[in-house]
């Protein structure tokens, strides 16, 4: 399966003209699944390009395809058609382990459900991406980020000993620890109360500005989206009201 994908995409590689300043590119991206009632389209003909250091909100109702799009962009899932290019590299040309390597080096994640590993301490969770990327001194770096998110006294706590807000702070520390060039956030405040959510968003954007990370955030919250430089609206798997500034992909 991986081989077939690799062959197909290597054919198209020569045609690819990466946008000079863009960090993330979606080219004619489509995803559908086969059901008993015929193919069901989840995403259709998605094109955009995101320049380095930009923050983008992907807006849409639930079921509009936000999460699928995020999965495709991060190389967690394989598109049915089209291409995703990150930092000049075509994801379709890689196998799953190659994409994992790319994620370890380049990408960070913040999830709606935090997704901390329960068996590891808060510090060990933050160390994970550092170690996977082969960074030196993972323990010291992780501890430093824990302090930056205000959890310096919670290093050896296990996730179930932390509050929801603390868990998301820990997840943010994990996302930024390896200093990724690209950060995905999937409804980062979805499971938090309003006040905690606001503090988490402030933390997220502070770190984002400080480190110059490219941020792609899926949300259904318009106020949250206003923190971002750009907005993409998804409806039934298609981009509507396309933001000209980032969908201007020449192909």
């Amino acid at each position: 399966m991986d081989n077939v994908e690799t062959m197909e995409s290597s054919q198209s590689q020569s045609q690819l003209q990466p946008h000079s300043e863009s960090f993330v590119q979606a080219i004619q991206l489509g995803k559908w699944v086969n059901t008993s009632e015929g193919p069901l389209t989840i995403l259709d003909d998605i094109n955009f390009s995101i320049p380095t250091g930009t923050s983008v909100a992907v807006l849409g109702a639930s079921g509009s395809g936000k999460t699928t799009l995020l999965g495709l962009l991060a190389g967690l899932d394989v598109p049915t058609e089209g291409q995703v290019v990150i930092n000049g590299q075509d994801l379709g040309a890689m196998d799953e382990d190659g994409r994992a390597l790319l994620r370890a080096d380049t990408i960070g994640f913040v999830f709606q459900n935090f997704q901390l590993l329960n068996g590891l301490t808060a510090l060990e969770n933050v160390m994970l991406p550092l170690e996977l990327a082969g960074a030196g001194n993972p323990r010291e770096q992780a501890a430093e980020f824990m302090t930056r998110v205000g959890l310096g006294d919670r290093l050896s706590h296990y996730p179930n000993q932390l509050s929801g807000g603390e868990q998301q702070r820990c997840a943010i520390a994990r996302a930024f620890a390896a200093q990724p060039k690209l950060l995905f956030a999937d409804e980062p405040t979805g499971n938090l109360d309003q006040q905690t959510g606001k503090r988490i968003i402030d933390l997220l954007f502070d770190l984002n500005h400080e480190l110059g990370t490219t941020l792609i955030m899926a949300t259904h919250d318009e106020t949250l989206a206003e923190h971002c430089d750009r907005r993409l609206h998804l409806d039934s798997g298609r981009l509507v009201k396309p933001d000209e500034s980032i969908t201007d992909v020449g192909c």
């Binding site: 999460t67 995020l70 999965g71 991060a74 967690l76 899932d77 799953e96 382990d97 994992a100 390597l101 790319l102 994620r103 370890a104 080096d105 990408i107 994640f109 999830f111 709606q112 459900n113 935090f114 997704q115 901390l116 590993l117 329960n118 068996g119 590891l120 060990e124 160390m127 994970l128 991406p129 170690e131 996977l132 990327a133 323990r139 994990r174 999937d186």
Partner: protein
């Protein structure tokens, strides 16, 4: 419903665990059942009847009349030793005179020529004829059809006696047999007053009639009279069987318990996965009762199907065990009976009900509201209920297997204590291992964290595997260590040959023979066979003793020896050895441990039946004996001048180097009645017997290991969802497949190593206890055991664990976006 749930996976584990448990229980059950019934059959053959009354006098006529009134079948038998003469050559023979119907159980086999093809005989020798063993024909150079003289009569030899059921396997009675008709005895004039004769009344009949008759005779027994029955036959085999039954039963039970743990683990997950179904059913109007009935029925079906498979496998396994042990048992086994099947099905049902039902019962408490709000789980499974069920089922199963309430209590407590110690040790090891987490890489840290985060489940897995590996280690490595240590504890020039059955007139010649061969002139010791009858005027009975050893020692024949001085390796621990002035007095020196076993003290009076006459001795001293030297030693020694007139044979032990050993054939040719026992050959035989027994036991313990595997798989299955999910998160964070694989390997290698380490420690401790307490020699610690344990643990648990979890590697990472923890 059953089929639908089958695909869920938990039912498969439930079924596999049940099959393992039922197979191990039934294979032991079938095997024990067959050996037991084989032994009873053979025991009846050994005394050639269902019941025998043995007496040094003519059998009481009342006994005969009473037996006839009860409709029992009767035969008479008279045994005595006499010299037969043919061609002017004398030869000592064991004469047996029998009446019609002999033997009542088993059969006589005869042949036309010595060692020729034999056939069953339904008759006994006619008056005026004798049947003799081939050995007699050889010694006296006789042919079938020639005559021999016995006392005042002359007889024609008409058949060669190939086999008599009640000949017995006694090495010490080697004079050849002469079988004659009872009507001819009087004419020989050999039976005079004071002659050493054993009279026997053989009885056959229905079991209840025989039991009644035995009760009748037992009340009227006179000194010198004894009752032999099937129960008293081969006490050593019976005791061994009892021990084997308990041992194998217990090991099967360990498998059952481990299987129970697997069942409980799988059932809990099964129940968890059925929370939604139950809630939906409740929502649609199903009552709590109908939900319970639905799941109970499903479980019952599963129990029946799995038990059937287990019983069939048990039957096959039992055939395997029997095949391995066939030649060892020396008895032909009857076909298996159906009784163990009951045990098998009961095990299956009890196991499933005891271990799986409590978590399932909790399903009825699922609130219908769960359909709308998934966090509504209802009342949790009450732990107390589970443990009560487990304890109850365990008690019932144990009671079934062992049958003695006191022993069951001990075993349960002992087992709980052992498991507790193992569990605490495992918990300690896990905590210790967890500290290493700070110093290892990401894969190892994740693996170690997986063990530490579920300490309960990890402890169960480690203990389950530890038990399995421990018994394997004990059976393989430790057994060899024990044997080697024992061999080492013997001096190099320890006697390696025994000579037995030397006749009194051959003693001087045999000493001279070895003198000529340059072997140190051996000391020969006399012995007279005797049976312990009374202690301080009280009749001895096996019922007086608790221990198997005491029961065995009391029924065996004693060999009384006489000596003026104690043996060099003997130490007098109580009383005094006799002076020359005591010679000829009825004194007795008793080995101290035996005295302790039989409860005999200094100055007690003991009576022995020696060739049919009751003789009394006073215990004048107690001796400690170093049996490991292989020197000839006796439990019972009397002063010279007491037994010289009784029929005795002489024995000796000596060391022969390979050169000297070749001269033995000369000796055997010259003295054909002397039996030579090669200790090295016996050691080899002991080793091969142990190997075979161990192989059979390993068969049973294989189930323990399999049950351990079932526990591992149940545990893996129980947290498979969590593993899948975490694996997806790790992949999202950029972990490649090899990293995840290393994490899994780290987890299961550690789990296996901990189980193996624990097993090695436990096996070493057990070996030490066995060496010190049972075999009485110092045990050399063998570090290989620990390493072997760790190696086996890593190999089995490592491979099985990784195989069981490898599907999580292929989990697409996109799952991490979709699911919550």
């Amino acid at each position: 419903m059953l089929w639908r749930d089958w695909r869920g996976g938990e039912l498969r584990i439930l079924a596999i665990a049940l099959v393992i448990a039922v197979t191990s229980v039934t294979s032991v059950g079938f095997f024990i059942d067959r050996v037991e019934r084989g032994l009873n059959q053979q025991a009846a053959e050994l005394i050639a009847a269902d019941l025998v009354i043995s007496s040094s006098r003519q059998i009481n006529a009342d006994y005969v009349r009473n037996a006839e009134q009860r409709g029992l079948t009767l035969a008479n038998l008279t045994r005595f030793r006499s010299v037969v003469v043919a061609k002017d050559q004398p030869q000592l023979a064991e004469v047996k005179a029998v009446t019609e119907h002999y033997p009542l159980r088993g059969e006589l086999r005869i042949a036309d020529v010595p060692y020729g093809e034999d056939r069953v005989s339904h008759t006994i020798p006619a008056p005026g004829e004798v049947w003799v063993e081939p050995k007699l024909l050889q010694t006296l150079n006789l042919q079938v059809g020639e005559k021999l003289q016995l006392g005042a009569s002359s007889f024609t030899i008409t058949q060669v006696l190939a086999y008599e059921p009640d000949r017995g396997g006694d090495m010490f009675s080697v004079a050849p047999r002469v079988l004659m008709h009872a009507d001819d005895v009087a004419a020989t004039r050999l039976i005079t007053t004071g002659a050493l004769v054993n009279h026997r009344l053989l009885l056959g009949g229905e079991r209840t009639a025989i039991d009644d008759y035995r009760a009748y005779v037992k009340q009227r027994l006179q000194p010198g009279e004894r009752v032999l029955s099937v129960k008293e036959g081969r006490p050593e085999l019976r005791a061994a069987l009892d021990r084997a039954q308990r041992f194998l039963g217990l090991s099967a039970l360990i498998s059952v318990l481990l299987a129970g743990v697997a069942v409980a683990t799988a059932a809990r997950r099964f129940a968890q996965r059925h929370l939604d179904t139950s809630a939906m059913l409740r929502c649609l109007g199903a009552t709590q009762r109908s939900i319970i009935r639905m799941f109970s029925l499903e479980m019952l079906w599963l129990a029946l199907i799995a038990s059937s498979v287990g019983c069939a496998l048990g039957l096959l396994t039992q055939m395997g065990i029997t095949r391995i042990l066939d030649q060892l048992l020396l008895i032909s086994l009857p076909a298996p009976s159906l009784q163990p099947l009951v045990l098998g099905y009961a095990t299956g049902v009890i196991l499933l009900l005891g271990f799986a039902l409590p978590p399932l019962l909790a399903l009825k408490h699922v609130p219908p509201l769960r359909v709308l709000r998934r966090d509504q789980t209802g009342a949790p499974v009450r732990a107390g209920l589970v443990y009560l069920g487990v304890l109850l089922s365990m008690g019932v199963l144990l009671y079934w297997q062992i049958g003695e309430l006191q022993l069951v209590t001990y075993v349960v407590l002992g087992m709980l204590a052992t498991l507790m110690v193992l569990a605490v040790a495992a918990y300690g090891l896990i905590k210790l291992m967890n500290r290493l987490r700070q110093r290892v890489g990401v894969a190892w840290r994740f693996g170690l964290a997986n063990i530490a985060r579920r300490p309960g489940s990890s402890v169960i897995q480690i203990v389950a595997f530890g038990l399995g590996i421990m018994v394997l280690l004990l059976l393989s490595t430790v057994r060899n260590d024990l044997l080697n240590d024992w061999s080492r504890s013997l001096p190099a020039d320890a006697p390696n040959h025994f000579l037995i059955n030397v006749q009194p007139d051959q003693v001087a010649e045999i000493q001279a023979f070895f003198d000529q061969q340059g072997v140190h002139k051996p000391q020969l010791y006399p012995m007279v066979r005797a049976r312990l009858m009374q202690i301080n005027d009280r009749k001895v009975s096996t019922d007086d003793y608790e221990s198997d050893r005491a029961k065995h020692m009391v029924t065996r024949e004693f060999n009384l020896s006489w000596a003026a001085k104690p043996q060099v390796d003997n130490t007098i621990v109580a009383g005094k050895w006799w002076q020359t002035t005591d010679h000829g007095k009825g004194l007795l020196s008793l080995e101290a441990r035996l005295a302790n076993t039989l409860g005999i003290k200094l100055n007690d009076r003991v009576s022995f039946d020696i060739n049919g006459a009751l003789r009394e001795f006073t215990i004048s001293n107690l001796r400690e004996v170093d049996w490991d030297t292989f020197n000839i030693n006796f439990f019972t020694v009397v002063p010279p001048g007491v037994l010289e007139q009784d029929p005795a044979s002489w024995v000796t032990s000596l060391y022969l180097d390979p050169q000297q050993k070749r001269q033995l054939s000369q000796l055997v040719k010259r003295y054909p009645n002397v039996t030579v026992i090669d200790v090295a050959a016996i050691m080899d035989r002991v080793r091969s017997i142990m190997d075979k027994v161990v192989m059979a036991v390993e068969f049973i313990f294989l189930f323990t290991l399999l049950a351990g595997l079932a526990v591992l798989y149940a545990a893996i299955q129980a947290n498979q969802d969590e593993r899948r999910f975490e694996s997806a998160v790790l992949r999202t964070l950029g972990a490649r497949r090899p990293v995840l694989m290393r994490g899994l390997i780290a987890e299961f290698i550690t789990l296996g190593a901990l189980a193996g380490l624990l097993a090695g420690l436990a096996a070493t401790a057990l070996a030490w206890v066995l060496a010190a307490q049972v075999f009485h020699f110092p045990y050399q610690f063998n570090p290989i055991i620990g390493l072997a344990g760790i190696g086996v643990g890593i190999a089995i648990v490592g491979i099985a664990g990784v195989l069981g979890t490898r599907t999580v590697l292929t989990q697409p990472p996109v799952v991490s976006l979709r699911q919550g923890t």
